[in-house]
């Protein structure tokens, strides 16, 4: 999926502008970034610096105003919405700050969601879901609904959901932002394990310098400009 030199994420002169009441608000200004397969990269910066926007562009859930975003061998700007959705299902595992589990589904059903998009049989899906839940240490909580789980457990279910389809890239937007120190440490250890043991490329946005320390590389964004 990566290019010949192992680059998984390739951004060139990426700009993003939002319009608020017809006023132009530049969020990203000429971002150039290369991330290699297997890396664990942390993206830091103050609120409003454009970290989440950059993450969304890389995950294919937003489009740049200008520039090229190439991830896992695809130039995302050229993909039609349906192909982009299929691309996301295949390559991206997204971890949100607020977990974003579906409240009416059990932990098992939440983790199974990305697999519904595949051609796997229900038996095969079950095997994979239980494996993913086991990996995050929640095999015993499969039948629990999100409201019956603690914040740390919810985030671990969200991580299981992100990895269950074996994506190329894990993107995490402030994954510890809503957790206490103990749970945050557990989640970071888990991400580190996924990076080291399963060789997953991880791209994490965080405010927390301690969290960023777990990464191989730390980039800073300030007023839409990237500084390494």
């Amino acid at each position: 999926m990566a290019s010949e030199n192992g680059t998984l994420i390739h951004l060139r002169d990426v700009h993003k502008v939002y319009y608020r009441d017809r006023i132009e608000v530049p969020v990203l200004q000429g971002i150039n970034l290369d991330v290699h397969e297997g890396e664990f990269l942390a993206l830091m910066g103050p609120s409003g610096s454009g970290k989440s926007t950059l993450l969304n562009l890389i995950a294919g859930i937003d489009a740049p105003t200008k520039g090229e975003v190439r991830v896992a061998g695809e130039s995302l700007g050229t993909l039609k919405p349906s192909r982009l959705a299929a691309w996301r299902a295949r390559h991206i595992g997204f971890i949100f700050q607020l977990y974003n589990l579906i409240p009416v589904l059990t932990a098992y059903q939440n983790v199974e969601l990305p697999l519904l998009l595949t051609r796997l049989s229900s038996r095969e899906r079950k095997k994979r879901v239980l494996f993913a839940l086991g990996l995050v240490g929640l095999e015993g909580r499969a039948k629990h609904f999100p409201r019956q789980l603690s914040g740390g457990e919810e985030q671990r279910v969200a991580i299981a959901r992100a990895i269950v389809a074996d994506p190329t890239l894990l993107v995490a937007d402030e994954p510890t932002g809503d957790l206490d120190a103990k749970n945050a440490a557990e989640i970071l250890t888990l991400l580190k394990r996924l990076n080291e043991e399963l060789k997953k490329t991880v791209l994490m946005v965080t405010h927390d310098p301690h969290a960023a320390e777990r990464a191989h590389l730390i980039y800073h964004l300030d007023k839409g400009v990237l500084q390494s």
Partner: protein, 382 residues
């Protein structure tokens, strides 16, 4: 099929709202089936009428009788091959709400002129030979649990007093359109029991003609014969008579269609509102699903599927309930709708309507959900 669990889970998110929506759709479809059955019952009574039978009544109104003396002159009209006559009795059984049709009929000619009334030979013989005997339809026998030999007291309204009849026959209809909710008894019994001044008058004559092609000419001849008499006649085919009888209460079909459509339309607006609300509440979840790789088309189908599922569930409940209620209750509206049965075609039409309702109510929220921009949806609610 693997997405059905997701659809059901979303519908059970707010059980009360889902229940109320399904309930309102069920009520709408129940009413639709009921109103539609009124129309199909009318149509069934028209189908049951014979093309070779004419009805002769007083030209002014059904309320005024014709002399019995007309019988001989009518029988002599060219083209007429049989004649029978009778009176609408208009009574009830035990309680005024137990109403059904009763006719005092000329028994010797009844079964000959109405071959659709099927009666075993022995029962027919027993009916003919006993002055106070009556025959009843199978549906009526089932409804009141009457058996052969039972005495049935009927309270007369047009002909006051309590009239007792012995059940000597239980007839069945030749086709399913034939009314099985009627009681027939001897016209002679009624006539002899009346005061002198009311005797020897007939409500309706039925004429059998050799061919349906003769209907117009025979009708014209009959009415011409009595044109200048004190009791002029109006002669028409049985079908025209039935249709005229129905039209006495106005353009029923149009009225019922308007009422039915208005109910369904109102409920559809309620369903659209509910679905829009349900989709709006789940903006973040829809954005999450899209982040996971659910395509716009799949989101459209899932949200639309919820509306369709909801409508079909309500439709199945409403139509099923209507079919069950009117089958079990033997509802006849006081004998006015002797064959009031929700037909399978009506149930299918109701379900089709429910599907259309579901589709239309699901379109707007489904399109809205499919068009949702992930990043802005996550940003708004995060």
């Amino acid at each position: 099929m693997k997405y059905l669990r997701l659809i059901v889970a979303n519908l059970l998110r707010s059980k009360r709202r889902t229940f109320l929506t399904v309930f309102s759709i069920a009520i709408a479809l129940f009413l639709f089936c009921t109103l539609r059955t009124v129309i199909t019952s009318f149509e069934a009574s028209l189908r049951a009428s014979q093309a070779t039978r004419l009805v002769v009544r007083h030209a002014a109104s059904l309320v005024f009788p014709l002399p019995l003396a007309y019988r001989e002159r009518l029988a002599q009209v060219p083209g007429v091959t049989g004649i029978s006559y009778g009176n609408w009795f208009g009574g009830y059984y035990q309680d005024p709400k137990n109403q059904f049709a009763q006719f005092a009929m000329d028994v010797p000619t009844l079964l000959d002129l109405f071959p659709e009334v099927v009666l075993p030979t022995a029962q027919a013989e027993a009916f003919r030979s006993e002055r106070t005997a009556c025959i009843i339809g199978g549906a009526l026998a089932r409804k009141y649990g009457w058996k052969l030999g039972d005495q049935v007291p009927i309270i007369g309204t047009i002909f006051p007093g309590e009239w007792r009849f012995v059940v000597r026959g239980i007839y069945t209809g030749q086709t399913k359109d034939v009314d099985e909710n009627t009681l027939f008894f001897h016209w002679d019994y009624l006539n002899e029991s009346l005061p002198e001044g009311r005797r020897n008058f007939v409500g309706i004559y039925w004429l059998r003609i050799a061919s349906p092609d003769l209907a117009a000419s025979v009708s014209g001849r009959v009415d011409a014969i009595f044109e200048n008499s004190p009791q002029p006649t109006k002669t028409e085919t049985e079908k025209a008579f039935q249709a005229g009888f129905i039209s006495m209460i106005g353009n029923v079909q149009l009225l019922l269609t308007i009422i039915g459509s208005a109910i369904v339309f109102a409920i559809m607006l309620v369903t659209i509102n509910t679905m829009m609300m349900a989709a709006r509440e789940r903006t973040r979840e829809i954005a999450v699903l899209k982040t996971l790789g659910f395509s716009d088309g799949l989101i459209l189908r899932l949200v639309g599927g919820e509306a369709l599922f909801l409508s079909l569930l309500g439709g199945a409940l409403g139509c099923g309930l209507a079919a069950l209620v009117f089958r079990e209750s033997d509802f006849t509206a006081g004998g006015f709708f002797p064959n009031f049965r929700v037909l399978p075609e009506t149930v299918l039409l109701g379900l089709l309507l429910a599907a259309i309702m579901g589709f239309l109510s699901g379109v707007a929220p489904a399109v809205q959900a499919a068009r949702l921009e992930i990043a802005s949806a996550l940003r708004k609610v995060a």
